[in-house]
């Protein structure tokens, strides 16, 4: 299945795009998607980020559905 991935701030600049798509197995978890991303995009190595699924923080064990939007959230710095 396909998952849309959103990138922001330093990660967006590092990878040169704000959005990309990745294919993962059915019933993949957030951790699986992140692992697939890391193997396709070595530029993510060593970069700290949290994850959000469909605009809400989601941990590594959460299951991802086809068409979901996964955001990589680098350390926030609003205010």
């Amino acid at each position: 299945m396909r998952v849309r991935v959103l990138l922001f701030a330093g990660l967006r600049e590092r990878l040169g795009t704000g959005a990309l798509e990745i294919r993962v197995e059915h019933a993949a978890t957030v951790a699986d998607v992140v692992a697939a991303l890391r193997s396709e995009h070595p530029l993510l190595d060593g970069q700290p980020f949290a994850t959000a699924l469909n605009a809400a923080y989601a941990g590594a064990a959460v299951t991802v559905q086809d068409g979901d939007e996964l955001a990589l959230i680098p350390p926030v710095s609003g205010g």
Partner: protein, 136 residues
Amino acid sequence: MAIALVEAPIDVAALTAAGGAESGGLVLFVGRVRGDTGGRRVLRLEYEAYGPMARRELERLEERVRAGFDVHRVDIVHRIGVLALGEVAVAIAVWSKHRAAGFEACRFAIDELKKTVPIWKKEFFEDGAVWVGDRP
């Protein structure tokens, strides 16, 4: 208003006129673009947000503040885009019967905003730029 993510300058005066007669106090926090960070001269800031999630997190924060403190009304406005020195990046207005709850709630609101809301700032210096939070 309650919460907002805006590109236009924040109207702080409007925030100070939103409460009702039940509130004996208004605590207002206004965050501005500071001209230096760690001794380096800052030229301007750029704020970026994950819009839908930032709005959702701001709404959750506003609900948490109203549920956790004895306050009447909470307004939180954050600006995104390029901001010059001295411009207002964030404003939080907390209306309460008494001042103690208002001060506590406002402090909590800005501290939590900085930890949880997906907004990022980039500092521009004379010799480069850096996303805050990316520093080792």
